[in-house]
């Protein structure tokens, strides 16, 4: 199978792409395979990218691998949905269960910078109580981290990404966004009008695209193609924030390098086997960090099984791959009296977290919802896959594109052991077993889904929407290698260090014990920033080995 239009390795010969230029490069330190680096990080997205920068800045030697290319947005990104599919992980995952997940553009990036290259920049924080979901709210499990600690790291990553948000955010403890909020577009004003009619608060969505110039980033020009990659660098993706920092601090980014296996010897990880430029190689490392997100991290750990670890690395609890979560992404769409032209501006410029912070409801967990602005093929795909509409009916329905508005939820699914990643028999082009994913909703998920569809429907109607249409979907991934306090029921401790192998770590969204009712990027980044500091603190205490109990 060939994947068209993907460049080969670009970070070579001591140079890496300058992401702020059309064809320039910057100096990059490189490490030979035989040199035992302090950290080999697998994945350079919201987890690995943040970690690589902070560890390099703390003086560690770091190589961060990414399976995807190292893009220069200014010259590589077209205004074209089909072309820009190159940002997604297009290799198939085998998807089963009662409610099979969709991957690719839905939740999986494949590039230096990871999914942040194509995310829609919604930068929300968890509700503080969710970090103690079991003890404070009575569902799922607690995180092994206090919310106040996470709160400090949200501040840190929001500054690093210059989040543009409102001066007064209506929900949760006070926070201060570094950049002012963007003007809310017509699609967002529909949500605002509906919220006011329903008597619930709304807010301009805090977004990771700048509302004023910042360094080499110009302010957002509202081209609306955030999901297919920002071609102006207004979007503060990991690719243009933490990756340049990592390079500056002496980290190597090894792009277009697929890690297939982690080797261990005498109970310790010794390095990673990776495929780059047509051959398999081996990088020695004192520590290995998995940061490939909720599918690739479990896949890599499972595929690294050996005689000493027959069920995969770090899997003595049998938890690797389990408790995979997605967000409910159901939506309600309606036709408005006037032209909305929702293609302008970031897709979700207004949000409502009312049902994240209100506990009088018939389900556990929470959901937020946002205004919508899907690009044409994205919206058409939603119509045909949900409604089966075709022919002249389809074309007629699509001619209403400029008058549509929508509300779409980000709803917390419950962690279930049976929702999991395993290895399939079938192999990919690298000869690696494909991931097989089983996913089924539980009753709580369905109650939440019904609640949200009903509420969003009434709200859209109150805002003037007609001919309402409901669609179902999921978005984002969380869990799959959760952290915890108990080695029997989790893969890592609160530092992301695996219980089984003291120099094997995890640092990505797969650590999340619960999903929360908000987009996960900021939480993944904040957690990565926290883990980086913990690793620095452990090293300072000369505690390379934790005493295993």
């Amino acid at each position: 199978m060939t994947i068209p239009d993907r460049p080969g390795p670009r970070a070579v010969d001591g140079r890496a792409p300058d992401v702020f230029s059309r064809d320039g490069s910057v100096a990059m330190r490189q490490f030979p395979d035989r040199e035992e680096v302090d950290f080999a990080i697998v994945g350079a997205g919201c987890g690995g990218g943040v970690l690589a920068a902070k560890l390099a800045e703390a003086g560690f030697s770091v190589v961060a691998f990414d399976a995807g290319p190292f893009w220069r947005p200014l010259s590589d990104f077209a205004s074209d949905e089909r072309e820009q599919e190159k940002l997604y992980w297009l290799d198939p995952r085998i998807s089963g269960g009662d409610d099979p997940l969709e991957f690719g553009q839905n939740n999986s990036g494949r590039a230096v910078g990871g999914s942040s290259v194509h995310f829609q920049m919604v930068a929300l924080r968890f509700r503080p109580d969710w970090f103690a979901a079991r003890s404070r709210l009575g569902y799922a499990v607690d995180w092994p981290v206090d919310w106040r600690t996470m709160w400090r790291y949200y501040d840190e990553v929001e500054r690093a990404c210059a989040i543009s948000g409102p001066a007064n955010y209506p929900w949760g403890p006070k926070r201060r966004y570094p950049y002012r909020a963007h003007e809310v577009n017509a699609a967002g004003q529909v949500l605002a009008r509906g919220a006011e009619a329903m008597g619930v608060p709304w807010a301009p969505t805090p977004l990771a695209t700048v509302s004023a110039p910042r360094g080499k980033s110009p302010p957002c020009v509202y081209r609306g193609m955030c999901k297919i990659g920002c071609s102006t660098n207004a979007k503060q993706s990991v690719l243009i924030t933490y990756i340049p920092r990592a390079l500056d601090a002496g980290a190597e980014i090894r792009d277009s390098a697929m890690v297939g296996r982690i080797e261990t010897e005498n109970g310790r990880a010794t390095g990673v086997e990776y495929h780059r430029d047509g051959q398999w190689r081996f990088q020695r490392a004192r520590n290995v960090v998995c940061a490939g997100y909720s599918i690739e991290t479990p896949r890599l750990l499972l595929n690294s099984a050996n005689g000493a670890h027959p069920h995969g690395l770090a899997n003595s609890s049998g938890t690797v791959g389990r408790y995979l979560m997605a967000h409910l992404n159901d939506a309600v769409w309606g036709v408005m009296d006037e032209e909305i032209r929702w293609y302008k501006g970031p897709p979700s410029m207004a949000c409502c977290e009312h049902w994240n912070y209100t506990d009088d409801k018939d389900f556990d967990g929470g959901y937020s919802f946002m205004s919508q602005g899907p690009l044409p093929t994205d919206f058409a795909r939603t119509l045909v896959t949900n409604e089966g509409v075709f022919g002249h009916d389809l074309r007629r329905q699509m001619t209403l594109y400029n008058r549509m508005a929508g509300l779409k939820m980000v709803g917390e699914t419950m962690p279930q052991a049976s929702n999991r990643v395993t290895l399939a028999e079938e192999r990919d082009d690298f000869g690696l077993p494909r991931a097989r994913v089983a996913f089924s909703h539980c009753d709580n998920d369905r109650r939440m889904q019904r609640h949200a569809r009903d509420f969003m429907g009434r709200m859209l109607k109150a805002a003037g929407g007609r001919d309402l249409l409901e669609t179902g979907a999921t978005a984002h991934l969380m869990g799959g290698c959760r952290m915890g306090d108990d080695p029997e029921t989790s893969v890592t401790d609160s530092d992301g260090r695996t219980w089984d192998i003291p120099n094997l770590w995890i640092c990505d969204g797969s650590l999340m014990p619960t999903a929360g009712g908000v987009n996960p990027s900021m939480t993944i980044m904040a957690n990565a920033a926290r883990i980086a500091d913990r690793i620095g603190a452990l090293a300072a205490q000369h505690e390379p080995e934790r005493a295993h109990g």
Binding site: M1, S75, F77, A78, S79, D80, R82, E83, E85, Y88, W89, L90, D91, P92, I94, S95, G96, P100, L101, F103, N106, V184, N185, A186, Q189, C220, V221, Y222, R223, G224, M225, S231, T232, E338, E339, I340, R341, Y343, K344, G345, P376, T377, A380, R381, V384, T385, G388, F390, G391, H392, L394, R395, R396, M398, T399, L400, Y401, N402, R403, R436
Partner: protein, 206 residues
């Protein structure tokens, strides 16, 4: 049969912005290829081709277009290149096999309705057949292929991905088209920048 679709944006063509700040070089290169280098049939057989074309024409009829978007060719190219979308349902074969099974099943459905094959059915009959398939009213053996999923998630999703990323499809719905480096300024309801489609000519009740 020709049915008219009301077009709120007659005369709007995103390609007229080709030399404007709304188009960057990367976009021009992608669209130049899409418009000028339509790939020849490589994946489907000559025998399968009429069914593919008939299927595309049923899902997205273009009887009003002098120069229809070559949907079948781009589907063929996707399959030939082995381009995936990141997901394969556990109950579905890989796309190349699914397409072959699906086309054979559509022919079998047509035969079960008294026609020689799918491509030889009239437009209305083809649409009725697809509605039956979508509703699970099957008369032929689909050999384990989930019929509705094949139709919606492989066929229809692919057809619309091609049609609405084509300048013709984008212009039809009044989409702004390519937008880089220039984006938009007027974000308010009912407002449009001079480089967007002028206000749509809407029928009283859309």
């Amino acid at each position: 049969m020709s049915e008219t679709v009301h077009r709120p944006y007659p005369g709007w063509n995103v390609l007229e912005k080709w030399d404007s700040p709304s188009f960057n070089d990367a976009t021009r290169e992608v669209l130049r290829k899409r418009l000028q280098e339509v790939p020849a049939r490589r994946f489907f057989t000559a025998g399968e081709w009429p069914a593919v074309e008939a299927l595309c024409d049923t899902v997205l009829p273009q009887d009003d277009r002098a120069d229809p978007v070559p949907l079948a060719n781009w589907i063929d190219a996707t399959l030939h290149e082995g381009r995936g979308n990141g997901t394969r349902r556990a109950d579905m074969p890989a796309p190349p096999e699914a397409w072959r099974l699906g086309l054979a099943a559509l022919d079998a459905e047509a035969r079960a309705r008294g026609a020689a094959d799918f491509a030889l059915l009239g437009a209305d009959a083809r649409a009725a057949l697809l509605r039956d398939v979508d509703a699970g009213r099957l008369r032929a053996d689909w050999q384990g292929l989930p019929a509705r999923r094949f139709l919606r998630n492989l066929v229809m999703a692919e057809v619309v991905a091609i049609y609405y990323s084509h300048p013709a499809g984008q212009s039809e719905i009044g989409f702004g088209g390519p937008a880089s480096p220039r984006g938009y300024v007027r974000l308010q309801p009912g407002r449009a920048d001079p480089w967007e489609a002028p206000p749509g000519a809407w029928e009283d009740t859309p």
